[in-house]
Subunit: 208 residues, 2 copies
């Protein structure tokens, strides 16, 4: 865990939420300890229950907000008036920036849904705020038809971009061990990542 936040400027509830995010993101629901969260927040453990009643309720608060955050970066880009190439490059940029700030976020969401699928209702995301894939797909089809990009199935194209962007960050500890490189070397690699992915995608989408 990092050093307890120098966050005396925040009220107790906020300090708990920030601390809970750090601990839950890294350790997950099962691995997190209420005492760790209290220490990290610099408050008494009993206060966590005073403000959030139970560990599970606190977790739900953190999880829901994390999921929304993840969703928002998706939707903002899709809705914007850009070409597909611009949108894809925007995806890459935004996700890599986010992963720099919050490397545990996607992994946290993935693993927690995995572990307790029953906890997350079928409609975790209400109908009206789901990602509007149809529009995006239509735009991709249109640009393909116009011969502006090479033909790939929209869903796969998007997954390719997400996979290349996100995986290299979440798999960092595994890759370091598998490849036998050190932290510094891997960080250097990650710094080049955005430019390299963009070049790769451009090359793939080039019409010949």
């Amino acid at each position: 865990m990092d050093k307890p936040n120098s966050q005396e400027q925040f009220d107790t509830e906020t300090r708990i939420l920030r601390a809970a995010r750090q601990v839950f993101f890294k350790q997950g629901m099962a691995g997190a300890r209420m005492q760790d969260i209290a220490d990290q927040a610099g408050v008494n453990k009993a206060l966590l229950h005073y403000y959030f009643r139970s560990k599970d309720k606190l977790f739900q608060t953190i999880f829901t907000q994390a999921f929304q955050t993840m969703l928002e970066s998706f939707k903002a880009i899709i809705a914007s008036p850009m070409s597909i190439t611009e949108k894809l490059e925007s995806f890459i940029h935004v996700y890599i920036s986010n992963m720099r700030l919050n490397p545990y976020l996607p992994l946290f969401i993935i693993t927690e849904i995995n572990k307790r699928p029953e906890v997350f209702p079928r409609q975790l995301v209400p109908e009206h705020q789901q990602v509007d894939l149809k529009k995006l797909f239509a735009q991709i089809q249109k640009e393909i038809a116009e011969g502006r990009i090479a033909p790939f199935q929209p869903m796969h194209l998007i997954m390719n971009v997400l996979g290349m962007s996100i995986f290299s960050f979440i798999a960092k500890p595994m890759m370091i061990h598998m490849l036998g490189v050190n932290e510094k070397q891997y960080e250097h690699f990650l710094n080049e990542r955005e430019a390299q992915i963009i070049a790769f995608v451009r090359s793939a989408l080039k019409t010949s």
Copy 2:
């Protein structure tokens, strides 16, 4: 959890190992319960301690073997006498096949190293059996120089392939919720995945 294995044909130790793999892979070290493993194996809980002494020892056994498995599929491909394009496509094929059998494996390794970096020694992989990246990189550089594939940095090229292959599987629960699709639709998407990634990589590597 799945139904208890109809694995009466295996001896007790094997049944425990198989059950432990299932439970640890899905729930992680912190989330797993010895009782769950015992139930899954169809044996008495005390036997887990008789055979493996502690939860931690049992976990170490499972983790180490999982990590070796992950490493082997890497190394086997790298060592084989194929062109880069063939090797990359072999990567894609092998990883997607493995993920079909064992969707939790990479996620398990990633999250457990994340949570307890101190547990895993710097040299989790002994020097002599590390992935021989140098050779692979040299081969890539050579094929680029010969104009057989477009120029990309070797490490990034490999990470692109791994990311596209692995991410779509490990992120399945997240994507299903984010995109508002159902399990069946996502499975259909995954079935097309191998061919789509190969097409994408070929397009990117094409020399113009």
